[in-house]
Amino acid sequence: MFKSIIKGKAFKIGDDIDTDQIYPGRYLYLTSPEDIASHAMEDIIPDFSEKIEGEDWIIVAGKNFGCGSSREHAPRAILYAGIKAIVAESFGRIFYRNAINVGLPVLKYPDIIKKVHQGDLIKINLQDGLITLYKPERKISIEKYPPQLLSILKSGGLISYLKKYGKYSHFTDEI
């Protein structure tokens, strides 16, 4: 189910977190959500699933998050582990597409890593392109989601989108 408002605690992580660190290559033969979720971030945060258990989290990252391989396992692992969204300075481009395609909201904001501390509450409004930070409370505007990509997220990912529309219906007009 698509939610325009996403709330969660910031799970901070650094620059250039590549897809091998998000999901190691040795598990690429796995296909079930449970199996994939169990290896999320395994090599860099071995107790990742325990750390995020019981609460809603938003990953807050530096530049080039998800650089490297084309593996869709990377955003799937994060999604299946229960992460609600990712805000990063920038994303590896294939990871960015893959995340939207599997229905995981990903947002770009230049200085986000400097603006929040580990565990800070964050509210994202996808429709309006706003992030609310607390302590002190303030709203920051982010680049609005291109309507084409928002249409995929609203459907819950590319599979549901194509099931519904049968083709790229929202991409035909120039913006």
Binding site: D16, D18, D20, Q21, P24, G25, R26, L28, Y29, L30, T31, D43, I44, K63, N64, C67, G68, S69, S70, R71, E72, H73, S90, F91, G92, R93, I94, R97, N98, N101, V102, P146, Q148, G157, L158, I159, L162, K163, G166, K167, Y168, F171, T172, E174, I175
Partner: protein, 422 residues
């Protein structure tokens, strides 16, 4: 328009495209490798029945070749069954090699085409003048379903490489140096054109290394203007597309306004380069890395497993033995390359030196099989990535270099300047 934008305009069925626009394009070729059974799962979930065009789809069993686990074997079996049911004839099994080598050899890559593959190193094919990019499994499932994909039209960065390479300097040294100067995110959401006298001088094998590694700077696609070396190759692999491309009117000059930015490099005084663990852009001269012990040396992968790479290794290792505590893996990028290297005597030379030959495939580059690393070990490799855990243990170290540096290091057991042996 830039040639890459011309390709996008053509496959979008439009006169023009502008950077930043979203477009939907028709795909000329879609390649799926054996890691992503998810493509078929997503295709089925979308309600897919028959693929849009079996002639434009190809499967390559290269990452887990031959299958190292029961699950990998099962995934490959399901892919074979899917391809058979769908009438997909371009199925390259475990006896062929790495997709980025197998596709051009089979005539499936040509200038002016749009290629998508479930592998990030798809940028390699810009060396043939194709717009080629890596995509994920569900994107690919949508291609199988609709024959189309959406793109944001990328800005173009131009990288001019001037100067003459010194002894023992290869394309890998040049691209590692460029990545170290420009960083791993300079080309995010953008495309890179390589140009300049040094690129024109390079063999096609060497140009492929530049375009292959461009993804380590974030590039979506690459481009090198096709010249007589490319056209000579295409004339053998796909005579029909060769004739078609020859008949298209092409503009000789690309307006500098087409580029978002232009970077200039002169490589005349460049020394052999080594990327230190665990970053592709943490690059030093071989002189600074020399002396570091290694236990494994790898010549292979879609970056560094071509004839040119194996040839220089054979030249350096001829009549010599590898260091007693070193394992030297030779993994040609394709069976055709292996056959050619056998014919030219390179493989015998390398085996005589103590090398281990493995099945043409991606090898240990993704940490799955065929020579993964134990904790505490170090490997010097012609591959593209040295991320933590990339080749096995996260406590192992990977150094990236040219095949010449890998071969020289295998002899000494420590990272070694290849110019000592040339």
């Amino acid at each position: 328009m830039h040639p890459l934008h011309q390709i996008l305009a053509q496959v979008a069925g439009r006169n023009r495209v502008k950077p930043g626009e979203f477009i939907v394009v028709k795909v000329d070729l879609a390649e799926i490798n054996d890691l992503y059974l998810q493509v078929i799962l997503s295709f089925n979930e979308m309600g897919g029945d028959k693929v849009w065009d079996p002639r434009k789809i190809t499967f390559v069993m290269d990452h887990y070749a031959p299958a190292p686990t029961i699950r990998a074997a099962e995934n490959q079996r399901k892919m074979r069954e899917f391809a058979f049911e769908q009438g997909i004839k371009n199925f390259f099994d475990i006896n062929q090699g790495i997709c980025h080598q197998v596709m051009p050899e089979a005539g499936l890559v040509w200038p002016g085409m749009l290629l998508v593959a479930t592998d990030s190193h798809a940028t390699t094919h810009g060396a043939f003048g194709a717009f080629s990019t890596g995509i994920g499994a569900t994107d690919m499932a949508a291609v199988l379903f609709t024959g189309e994909i959406w793109f944001r039209v990328p800005e173009i960065i131009k990288i001019n490489i001037r100067g003459k390479t010194g002894k023992g300097i290869m394309a890998k040294d040049i691209i590692l140096y460029i990545i170290s100067q420009l960083g791993t995110d300079v080309a995010l959401y953008k495309a890179i054109e390589f140009d300049g006298e040094a690129v024109k001088e390079m063999s096609l094998d060497e140009r492929l290394v530049l375009c292959n590694m461009a993804v380590e700077m974030g590039a979506k696609a690459t481009y090198i203007r096709p010249d007589e070396k490319v056209m000579e190759y295409i004339s053998h692999t796909n005579p029909k597309k060769y004739k078609e491309y020859q008949s298209i009117k092409k503009s000789n000059n690309i307006n500098s306004e087409e580029y978002e930015s232009i970077f200039n490099f002169n490589i005349s005084n460049l020394e052999p380069q080594v990327a230190l663990p665990h970053r592709v852009d943490k690059v030093v001269s071989v002189l600074q890395a020399a002396g570091k012990p290694i236990q494994q040396a790898l010549i292979g992968t879609c970056t560094g497993g071509r004839i040119n790479d194996i040839k220089i290794a054979a030249q350096i290792l001829k009549g010599k033995k590898i260091f007693s505590s070193v394992r030297l893996l030779i993994i040609p990028a394709s069976n055709k390359i292996l056959e050619k290297c056998i014919e030219l005597g390179y493989i015998q030379t390398l085996l005589d030196s103590g090398a281990t030959l493995a099945t043409p495939s991606c090898g240990p580059c993704l940490g799955a099989h065929e020579g993964v690393l134990a904790p505490g070990e170090a490997c010097i490799s012609t591959s593209s990535r040295n991320f933590p855990g990339r080749m096995g243990s996260t406590e192992a170290k990977i150094f990236l270099s040219s095949p010449a540096t890998v071969a020289a290091s295998a002899i000494k057991g420590v990272i070694t300047d290849p110019r000592e042996f040339l």
